[in-house]
């Protein structure tokens, strides 16, 4: 096993432990927990059985399992970025509306 694989595997396990920790604290929902566990378990599977990824990649028309991992990773990243943007935007609006209410309360008629 290459060093990279060991490191990546260790990281996946570490990331999964964080997921469980957050789930235990109820900071993330069951759906989110399931999603992240799936992501990291998927990574472990691909690390341990590289052929498994080709098995999924081939029918999709992607040559190698690694390519599939890259393209899927990109898609997921963009999706997360988008979600983050929407969330931050909503939060900015909420903050503005709070600050505004506070400012207007101080208004002399």
């Amino acid at each position: 096993m290459a060093l990279l694989e060991i490191l990546a595997g260790a990281f996946a396990l570490f990331a999964m432990s964080r997921v469980f920790l957050r789930a235990k604290e109820r900071k993330i929902s069951i759906a989110e927990t399931a999603f992240w566990v799936l992501v990291w378990v998927g990574m472990l599977v691909i690390l341990l059985v590289p052929e498994a990824s080709s098995f999924i990649a081939k029918p999709l028309g992607i040559g190698r399992g690694l390519d599939l991992a890259f393209s899927a990773g990109l898609v997921v990243l963009f999706y997360l970025l988008f979600r983050l943007y929407v969330k931050v935007d909503a939060m900015e609006r909420d903050i503005t509306s709070l600050v505004r209410q506070e400012a207007l309360r101080g208004m002399k008629k």
Partner: protein, 227 residues
């Protein structure tokens, strides 16, 4: 001297302590007795300075940007019995006569929304600014379908009923284009009046950076996409 008692001037200000007092005083001397400064979380003494000059001051406890401050000011003005609401920059780039011109256009009933355009009568505006402005005008037109010669102007006027219809959600500089969009969406009677841009070193240092256009474009496109 005309009486502009029913006219409320809204001035969003962020760290403008050195210029805001002169702006407020100039307006008050010209007969605009109701000047409302929204101190957008300044770290200097903008609020004190404006208050001493005779303005009513509202304070944002955190800096929310031009859009946030404008919307607060307009809402506050609507809580009074103001018939006309005019927004104006705090950096001193707008001449009092031009504010009067905007107020006059509203009072004469020609329009519900008036924008003071620095480009109907060019000159005074540095070339690179004119180019950046032109770019944003084109973008505003492409996205919102309304052509204005100065979409980024800070001098605007609304009748009360027009101001009530405005829905301002942008927090930052993209608010200028958003207001144009709102004028279009509400089918407000719209007029541009030529104004002079007074560019001092100070107001140039405080304005938008040239690169900001790209940032505004991104925000506007996302807004269009998300809604």
């Amino acid at each position: 001297m005309p009486d502009w008692k029913r006219c409320c001037i809204v001035i969003p200000a962020y760290n403008e302590e050195s210029s805001v007092a002169a702006v407020v005083k100039g307006l008050r001397t010209a007969g605009f007795s109701r000047v409302l400064v929204v101190d957008d979380g300044s770290r200097d003494r903008t609020a004190e300075s404006a208050e001493r000059a005779g303005a009513a001051v509202l304070r944002h406890s955190l800096n929310r940007g031009l859009g946030g401050a404008l919307a607060t000011g307009i809402q506050a003005a609507l809580r009074t019995n103001a018939e006309y609401i005019i927004t104006c920059d705090a950096d001193g780039q707008h001449a009092v006569e031009d504010v009067e011109r905007v107020a006059g256009a509203l009072a004469s009933g020609e329009a519900d929304a008036v924008i003071g355009s620095r480009l109907l009568r060019p000159g005074g505006m540095p070339l690179i600014r004119r180019a950046g402005n032109m770019g944003l005008n084109v973008i505003t037109f492409a996205l919102f379908g309304i052509w204005v010669t100065d979409s980024q102007s800070g001098l605007r006027g609304f009748t009360r009923s027009a101001a009530e219809k405005l829905r301002i959600e942008s927090n930052r500089m993209e608010v200028s284009s958003e207001i144009i969009h709102e004028i279009r969406r509400n089918r407000l009677r719209f007029k541009e009046v030529p104004i002079r841009a007074i560019y001092t070193d100070y107001s140039l240092a405080h304005g938008q950076s040239h690169l900001n256009a790209a940032n505004i474009l991104l925000k506007l496109m996302l807004k269009k996409l998300l809604r």
